[in-house]
Amino acid sequence: MNSRHSVLDRVRRALADVPAQETPEDVVVGRDYLRSHAGADIVTQFAERVADYQARVVRVTADGAPGAIAALLGERGVRELVVPVGFPGELLPPGPWKSLVDEPPLGLAAVEAADAVITTAALGIAVTGTLVLDAGPGQGRRMLSLLPDYHLCVVRQEQIVGDVPGALALLDPARPLTFVSGPSATSDIELDRVEGVHGPRTLHVLIIATAPAPEQP
Amino acid sequence: MRIALFITCFNDTLYPSTGRAVVRLLERLGHTVEFPVGQTCCGQMHFNTGYRPEALPLVRRFAEVFAGYDAVVSPSASCVGMVRDSHRVVAGQYGDPGLCAAVDAVAPRVYELSEFLVDVLGVSDVGAFYPHKVAYHPTCHSLRMLRVGDKPLRLLRAVRGIELVELAQADSCCGFGGTFALKNAGTSVAMLEDKMRCVGESGAQVLSAADNSCLMHIGGGLHRLRSGVRVVHLAEILAATGEGPA
């Protein structure tokens, strides 16, 4: 009798008190919790909540995005910027940094040596100030947004949802997902929250406003 | 309404004044109180120390003695909690269907004093007079098991002459915990220390609560330290009118 068999056997015997005809759905789960705790202006709420985690937030229009990105990278003094495959070229202006596109895939040493990474996101969650990366185009392999010390994440306004339930419904669990809520931190030393252990110690978020609908003639 | 008093073995023996206060209070409010003399104990000590079979006869006696009353009132939140939460468990585990039914009939009618006054009698001003500075300690059983909420405080606020003072960290357990006070005496005392410090900081002359067990523990410490603070059960404050013992 192998362990799979014996463990499952023990589980079933432990549950001998559960009626054979009971289905999981027979165990009622109340769903009267809120789908969202978000306020009316979820973009502003998102920006505020992200900023609460000591991450810098910049809001721009689509036209202003490349300039804002250039300014942030310039201010940071970025020398080598990791760029995931599929990152929108029109958003990335030329600059004094060297762009390391992940095609062909960058080696570990190269990513470790780079001092910054720029990505898009799958979505943002307003109530919790969370960005979610799903390793898709513009976001890249998970390692790319992990090793460099500076992560600039570009999210479009329409990608922001109110709260966690809505976000999970939009995400594909088959993809590797990384939920990012601020830079890395620890409270292990006397419960003093200290930013930055592993993972990017500086996180900047750029929110690109949705272009207003064109006026009807 | 037929009202029975469940005095509890603890109060019967050590704090009869609390029982007298409940009787006087309810009579003052126009009710007749009966005291079924067959009562002994709710079985809490045995149950909480893990001796459940020994609690069975006590559960049975309780269900028999208090059968037929509209309400059973007790000045002990922990004993009421034992009856309402655990008598059915003991009956189910060690008793028989007849006992289970008897417990189901009686247990829902057992009330802690402040619950009874506010919820059943619908009063919060019981006409009391108690001109002292009082802090109130919400005992864990009344707070979290019975969820009496602010009923005791509403009753106390209506007492004429009283000065209610805030007790810091009021929700923190005093450290009694029944046999815990003996089995884990060190931790019990550490918790008592913090509770006494908060009592001292409150400036109260009197500490009140819905359970004499906690009051005996806290009061015992306060008395040992000659702190000058007395402990008085909620019932005795509510029964006080300026005539007769407070």
Binding site: V7, R10, P105, T128, T178 | -
Partner: protein
């Protein structure tokens, strides 16, 4: 269960009352704990207070756990199929020894002799590091607190912040003394500023992350329907361990499975707010099997029983398996606040430890834990999945007594007192007789209406508390005289 896995229960810790005494006298520990637990308590109250539907979320969390546990076999089988379909391999471990053998075997198969570890109380429970060491494999803890515990040759004392018993000065000392033995040494001028300590840990561990070929992790949850596994963390070491190495081995207790991806909407709200008192923790990583080109090429999920099925079999006690390891109960427990985790002698301390440990190892191996509580109920109020810890504590106390009865090991003094009390309380007449005796005894030892210090078995009480003298007239005596109808 033939032997006590001494990863879970530390056999050299005395029973709780004695272990607690030592802890109570440690003023530095007391101060650390008071500050720490008070801080997290306040944060938790603030962020949970923000959600007007917090109680509904708790109800849903409790119900989902109940649904899962009542149909655990079905969900485990489903999980296995989902993980396998996604390119992972599932292993089943009946107990700690088997789990250790599986993990060691998987590591050996890679040819590596080093692993990095993240976020796994389950591996602490089974004593994995020691077992790997015996197989010539070095395991490097990468959670800052676990690193502190490992370097300090110590034991964890809290579920969420395992090094809470260490203050910054002690951590600095540990880093300075030990880091060089395990890898990159701490800088000579290392201060005790938390920022400096975190930086030292960052550099020390960085090279390990970059070099690691094998990682061992725990899991906060695994979704049966999709095979998705998740780790909830703060520092980023999880992300490092889950994405850089070629081989990932995840050890997970069987109770951590959840039915659907959407069920996470409840737990991702309950967990961060209950544990660190944040709206969301810095990093949560989820993965399903293997993603070619991104992360590990081999993923192994080791499903661990190790007493969980025994716990599941107890219809009252099984609710302890709903635990999501948030540690909210520890932070509100007045006993834990004063004694710390080591006094519990288990990887799982505090209120949840007091109900989980005895069930995992058998009550006879953790008999003092269910009594390490006043049953105040603060833990139940704080638990995001509504585990009725006081109910389980009372239940386990009865189990301890029944076990002792069966094995004739009841403490005779206690059993005698309980028996005598039962006899006295059996009828009103006997009670009245005992009350008379108590009043008489009281008169003998009392002075000025009170009883002071007494020698003998009651000294635990009378050492610090005065007791009122039992009044001459009991209540029933008064009633008989003043109210009884004749």
């Amino acid at each position: 269960m033939t032997t006590t896995p001494n990863g879970l229960v530390w056999l050299d810790t005395p029973a709780f009352p004695r272990a607690a005494r030592a802890a109570l006298a440690d003023t530095a520990l007391r101060a650390n704990l008071k500050h720490a637990t008070g801080t997290i308590r306040d944060k938790r109250l603030a962020v949970t207070g923000e959600l007007t539907d917090w109680e509904q979320l708790r109800d849903a969390g409790a119900a989902l756990k109940r649904r899962t546990l009542r149909h655990l076999d079905r969900y485990l089988v489903e999980l296995e199929a989902s993980v396998t379909r996604a390119g992972g391999t599932v292993h089943w471990a009946g107990d700690a020894a088997e789990a250790n053998r599986i993990v060691a075997g998987l590591v050996e198969a890679t040819g590596e002799c080093e692993v990095v570890k993240v976020k796994s109380m389950a591996t602490q429970e089974i004593g994995l590091n020691e077992a790997l060491a015996e197989a010539g494999i070095t395991a490097y803890e990468t959670d800052l607190a676990e690193l502190i515990v490992q370097l300090g040759r110590d034991r964890p004392s809290h579920i969420l912040v395992p090094a809470i018993h260490r203050n910054r000065g002690e951590i600095r000392e540990i880093f300075r003394r030990e880091m060089g033995r395990w890898g990159r040494p701490a800088p000579d001028d290392l201060t005790d500023d938390p920022r400096a300590l975190a930086e030292a840990a960052r550099l020390h561990l960085r090279e390990k992350f970059l070099r690691a070929k094998v990682a061992v992790s725990g899991a906060n949850f695994a979704i049966a329907a999709t095979g998705t596994v998740g780790v909830v963390e703060s520092e980023g070491n999880g992300r490092m361990c889950l994405t850089l190495p070629r081989t990932l081995i995840t050890v997970m207790g069987i109770e951590k499975v959840l039915p659907l991806w959407s069920d996470l909407e409840v737990f991702l709200q309950l967990l961060p707010r209950s544990s660190t008192g944040e709206r969301m923790n810095p990093y949560t990583s989820t993965w399903t099997g293997i993603t070619p080109g991104d992360g590990p090429r081999d993923f192994h999920l080791v499903l661990l029983d190790n007493g969980r099925t025994a716990t599941l079999a107890d219809t009252v006690g099984r609710q302890a398996l709903a635990c999501i390891r948030c540690s909210a109960c520890l932070n509100v427990c007045p006993v834990y606040e004063r004694t710390g985790g080591h006094a519990y002698g288990s990887v799982y301390p505090g209120p949840i430890g007091a109900v989980l440990t005895p069930q995992l190892v058998g009550v006879e191996h953790a008999a003092s834990l269910p009594f390490a509580s006043t049953l105040c109920g603060a833990c139940y109020d704080a638990c995001p999945v509504k585990i009725n810890i006081p109910e389980v504590l009372a239940h386990l106390r009865a189990e301890v007594v029944e076990h002792k009865r069966r094995t004739h090991t009841l403490p005779s003094a206690e059993a005698l007192v309980m028996k005598a009390a039962a006899g006295v309380l059996a009828t009103p007449r006997r009670l009245a007789a005992a009350q008379k005796a108590a009043a008489l005894a009281g008169r003998l030892v009392a002075r000025d209406g009170g009883i002071g210090r007494l020698p003998g078995p009651l000294h635990g009480w009378t050492d610090t508390r005065d007791t009122p003298q039992p009044p001459a007239e009991t209540f029933r005596g008064w009633w008989h005289k003043n109210r009884e109808q004749s």
